[in-house]
Structures are given as structure tokens and as C-alpha cells.
Amino acid sequence: MKHLIPEFEVWKKRYPAGFEGSLVIPCCRRIQEDRGYVADSDIAELAEYLSVPRIQVEEVLAFYTQFRRKPIGQWHVQLCHNVSCSMRGSEGLLVHLRNKLGVAPGQTTADGKFTLSTVECLASCGTAPMMMVNDTYYENLDAQKVDTLLAMLAEGAPS
């Protein structure tokens, strides 16, 4: 984590003085972006850097769904299956993804390339069904588009 401190120092300048604790979430996001997950050592170092209790960092990591404390696959495929997406075909797409990847939601493929998750509404209901792969939204999906995308991702290049 320590190599990120210069970036964190820049961020601090726009917060009111004395409330650096607000940076717990942005710092955890940045650490995860850097390492792929937040390690125990990051928690200790961040707590010390921001002068917050270690439990505050632990709670944040446990509370917000985007944080993880273990590595996952190279591509995190998150299929929305809430109301609007279900009404436009996401339930079939989930079956398709399970078959195609050979894993259930929450699991990672043996080659470490894909982790499959289901999520509840990514505010993309007008372009349902949709999924998010790492940070990118893929919308108006059908089985064929999913296949094309997975093939591209397996090669290592997102569109």
C-alpha cells in the first residue's frame, strides 16, 4: 500500500482538515485496483496511515459488495438479474453463462480467467439484460453477444 501514499496525499487536500478518515473507502478502492484485492497487511498500513481504528477498515471491506480480501479471476463477470433484466432475458443468460464457463455464481474457472457473480440492479435497466465485466458495462445482451465477448476476454483483450 505504501507506494500509493503520494496519490492519497493529493486527495487529502480537497477534504476538510481533520477528516482524513473519509479516505478509507477511496483508499481501499485504489489498493484493490492495484493489487486485485485488499490484503491484511494493507488493512494495517491504511489504518495507521489514516489514524483510524483497524476495525473501521475491516468493517468497510465487509460491508461493501465491491471489496474483496482474496484474489479472483482475471475477468469478473457480474450479471444483473434484478427485475428489469429478468424481464428481458437475464435468467436464460445466467444458465448460458453457467454452462459456458462451467462454474456457478461465486466461483472462478479452473484457469483463473473468469469469476461469475450475479448482482441486483446496476442502474442499466433500459438496456437490459446487461452485465458488468471488471469496470465495464455490456448492455442489450443476448446469448450470442455473450459468447463473442467471452471469446474476446479469454484472448485477453476487451473490446
Partner: protein, 445 residues
């Protein structure tokens, strides 16, 4: 033009239309100049109050009244926070603003911060909104470089810093007090009131939290005055609303409508009619936390607050989900209840336990293992939850449940008695998603 006057969707979206240069070419930041140079902070608030601007986050509270609670000369710091934690299922309108008019939102934040005399302000964006976040962050740097943030803005003694704060995955953080707790770098637990957030909000200081679209109206009000704003919309719902609509229609998307636009016209024109020639069954009008309206309920309605409240529901977060005949309401409720259970933060017992009970009962109904008493249990849990928790998440789950049970009780009774859906458990309409269903069927075989 269909849907009436456009306050926001009145320019062509191009790869550069979101930039500072093009926003300025459309007249951007002139309202800020007017506010800073010609108006006192409390005059801005008075103008917003007399414009009748209502909050667009769901509760439709008078925006100016919320601002007016903050006492300008109390010697304390004041904070303004834009709520861009859009996560109510069916709602995706704020994303349109974040991605397409970032500078309008920054200008709104500056004017709002000036009115409230805030030195530090925040925009809280849901963590999953990557493009929206990048757009806002890049635009903010553009604005800083142009001297629109920082010290002595436009040569006045007004100074303001802004942070674009990115959440990390939590529906409940869209609740204002939870959002502020999250902004303090903690898990997003809602807080008990009193004290109100306008008395003790972020860092225990007076704080105003407004929805994206609410604040987006402020530059127009400053430019045209309260009277100019009131010329748009209806007497009790002035202005426009940006509706996000999805479900079984031909052209889902985001549309700006003057308040009072007839729903029937909206369905036929903007929505492009029902998908694949299907018939309208019902509409979830304002995010899944609002009560469902049947075809008969909604077809005669004008789209304004009073009409929807009189019909027993609300415009809520302006996220409409249009549902076709042939859709199974038991399964639809199951999907909704899975959402609430997933998103309950676990702080209050009635919601933490109640959301689990509701979801498990709906799962058992869908599995064909429903019991005759399950319908009254769903009612009981929904009503027992109402008003007993710190925030409204559990209440909202109850409204969704009671709304569907009141109108479609017979589908639940049929499911329990026959151990199967009246509509084969369908959520999609015929003709759509056939390929996906075929795949699903082959997987079962």
C-alpha cells in the same frame, strides 16, 4: 415537441458535448456568474423555494425548504452532498446526467454550495458507475483548471472544493444519512433522526443532501427565476421530470417530460408501445419501492405527483417498469424480495430478519411449497416492519409486497393451490428471449 418543454435534454449528444467548452457554448456557468455576482446566498435559496422545485430522489420534498433550514451565520461549516448513488431497481436517470452533462452538475454544486455557504462539497456516486465517475472526475479537473473551483471563484470571495466520492456497492447508501456515514469512511449504516441532517449531518455539521436531478434544476431557476420555472409543468408539480422506463416496451430509455404529460401518450410515443404486440398488465411506477398500478389504474393518469398519489402510489424515483400481460406476479415479487434481503444492512432487527422471512416465503411459494397462511404472513411481516426501523428500506419492501398482493392476490392463491404459476413463471413476454429460454430448457434436459 412530445413530452413538452425540455430543460435538460435539449442538445445533441456527441463524443464532445459533455466538455467544458461545449457546455459553456450552450450558456453554461452563466447562472453561476449571476448567482455569485448579483445574488446573496439566501436570495438563491428563496428563489429555489418559491420555484416550488420538488426533490427528484423519491420523496418529492420541497428542495428550497431543506436548504432554508441551514442557518447561514451559525459559525459552523455547512456541507452539500449530491446523491448520485442511483440504485433503486428500474431507475437509471441520474446516470444520464452524470455521463452527459457533468458540467451542469458541477455548476449546480457551485451554486448550491454558495447558497448554503459550503466550503467543501461532495458528489457521492455509486461504485459501479465507472463511466459516470470518470466523466465527473475529468470534468472536475477541467473546472479546477478553469478556476471554477478552489479559491476566489470568478474573482469573488467565494471558495469551494469538491470531492467526487465513489461508493463501493451498497443500495442503502442511497439513503441520505447512510450516505453521510459512508462519506465519513465507515460502513453505510443509516442514522436515527432527530437530529436532522440539516442540523447534524456530515461530520456532525449541517448538511444538505439532494438528488442529482433536483440540483440540476438550480441553474435554470437562477437564470429564469422562480416564475420562469413555474411556467413549466403543473401548478403543484412545477418543472420537468426525467423518467427512466424499462420492461416490456419497445423503446426503453430515459425521457424528459413536463409534469402532467398523460401516461397513455408516454406509453404510445416515448415507450414505442408494448413489446411484440403484448398487452399492458401493470406498471411499477417509481422504482420497485412504489406500489404497482394496474392497467386500469394508470391508463387515465397524468404524470404528476398528485395524480399518482391519488391513485395510491407515487412517482418515486421516476423509474418505471412496464409489465405485460402473461407475466407471473409471484415470480416478480420474488425477484424484488431477493433484492431487499440482499440490500438490508442488518442494523435493525425487523428489517434484518423480516427481509429474510419475506424472501424465504416467496421462494417457497415459487417452489410450489406455499402454505395457505403464507399470504397473510407476507402481509403481517410487511405491516409489522413499517415504521419500526431507522431507514425506509424495510418499509419499502413492505409497500412493494402489499402493492402486489392487493392487486394480484388471486395469482398467489392459484400458485399455492395448484403448486404452479398461473403464467408458467414467466417474467419475459412471448417472442422475447426465446433463444435464452431454449438454452435454459436444454440445460434442464
Amino acid at each position: 415537441m412530445s413530452g413538452g418543454t425540455k430543460l435538460f435534454m435539449n442538445f445533441d449528444i456527441t463524443p464532445t458535448s459533455h466538455t467544458l467548452a461545449e457546455y459553456k457554448a450552450r450558456g453554461g456557468y452563466q447562472a453561476l456568474a449571476k448567482a455569485l455576482k448579483e445574488m446573496k446566498p439566501d436570495q438563491v435559496t428563496k428563489e429555489v423555494l418559491s420555484s416550488g422545485l420538488l426533490g427528484h430522489g423519491g420523496a418529492a420534498f420541497l428542495a428550497g425548504r431543506k436548504w432554508g433550514v441551514v442557518k447561514l451565520n451559525d459559525g459552523q461549516p455547512h456541507y452539500l452532498c449530491m446523491n448520485a448513488d442511483e440504485g433503486e431497481p428500474g431507475t437509471f436517470k441520474d446516470r444520464w446526467f452524470l455521463e452527459n452533462t457533468p458540467h451542469l452538475l458541477l455548476e449546480s454544486m457551485l451554486i448550491g454550495s454558495y447558497a448554503l455557504q459550503g466550503r467543501h462539497s461532495f458528489i457521492y456516486i455509486r461504485g459501479e458507475f465507472d463511466l459516470a465517475y470518470r466523466r465527473m472526475a475529468e470534468s472536475l479537473e477541467e473546472a479546477y483548471a478553469a478556476g471554477l473551483f478552489g479559491e476566489n471563484i470568478m474573482g469573488t470571495d467565494f471558495s469551494c472544493d469538491l470531492v467526487i466520492y465513489r461508493g463501493a456497492g451498497s443500495y442503502v447508501c442511497g439513503e441520505a444519512s447512510a450516505m453521510l456515514t459512508s462519506l465519513e469512511g465507515k460502513k453505510g449504516y443509516p442514522r436515527n433522526r432527530p437530529p436532522r441532517l440539516t442540523v447534524a449531518g456530515l461530520y456532525q455539521k449541517p448538511t444538505v443532501v439532494n438528488n442529482v436531478e433536483t440540483l440540476a434544476n438550480v441553474p435554470y431557476i437562477v437564470t429564469h427565476g422562480a416564475e420562469g420555472f413555474r411556467k413549466v409543468g403543473t401548478a403543484t408539480s412545477p418543472g420537468t421530470q426525467v423518467i427512466s422506463v424499462s420492461g416490456h416496451i419497445n423503446t426503453p430509455g430515459v425521457y424528459e417530460l413536463e409534469y402532467g404529460y398523460p401516461f397513455a401518450d408516454f406509453l404510445a410515443n416515448e415507450c414505442g408501445g408494448m413489446l411484440n404486440g403484448s398487452e399492458l398488465k401493470c406498471v411499477v411506477p417509481g422504482g420497485i419501492s412504489t406500489k404497482v398500478l394496474t392497467r386500469e389504474d394508470i391508463m387515465p393518469l397524468a404524470m404528476d405527483h398528485n395524480s399518482f398519489v391519488a391513485a395510491g402510489s407515487q412517482l418515486g424515483s421516476q423509474g418505471m417498469i412496464v409489465v405485460a400481460e402473461g407475466t407471473c406476479m409471484v415470480r416478480l415479487l420474488q425477484v424484488m424480495l431477493r433484492f431487499y434481503h440482499h440490500e438490508s444492512c442488518g442494523q435493525c432487527t425487523p428489517c434484518r430478519e423480516g427481509m429474510g422471512w419475506l424472501e424465504r416465503i416467496s421462494n417457497r411459494l415459487v417452489a410450489g411449497e406455499g402454505r395457505p397462511e403464507d399470504i397473510s404472513r407476507l402481509y403481517q411481516i410487511s405491516r409489522a416492519n413499517d415504521g419500526t426501523t431507522i431507514c425506509g428500506l424495510g418499509d419499502a419492501a413492505g409497500y412493494a409486497t402489499v402493492g402486489i398482493l392487493d392487486k394480484y392476490r388471486h395469482e398467489f392463491e392459484y400458485y399455492i393451490e395448484n403448486k404452479r404459476s398461473m403464467y408458467e413463471g414467466r417474467l419475459e413476454v412471448a417472442g422475447l428471449g426465446e433463444s435464452a429460454r431454449a438454452i435454459a430448457a436444454s440445460a434442464v434436459a
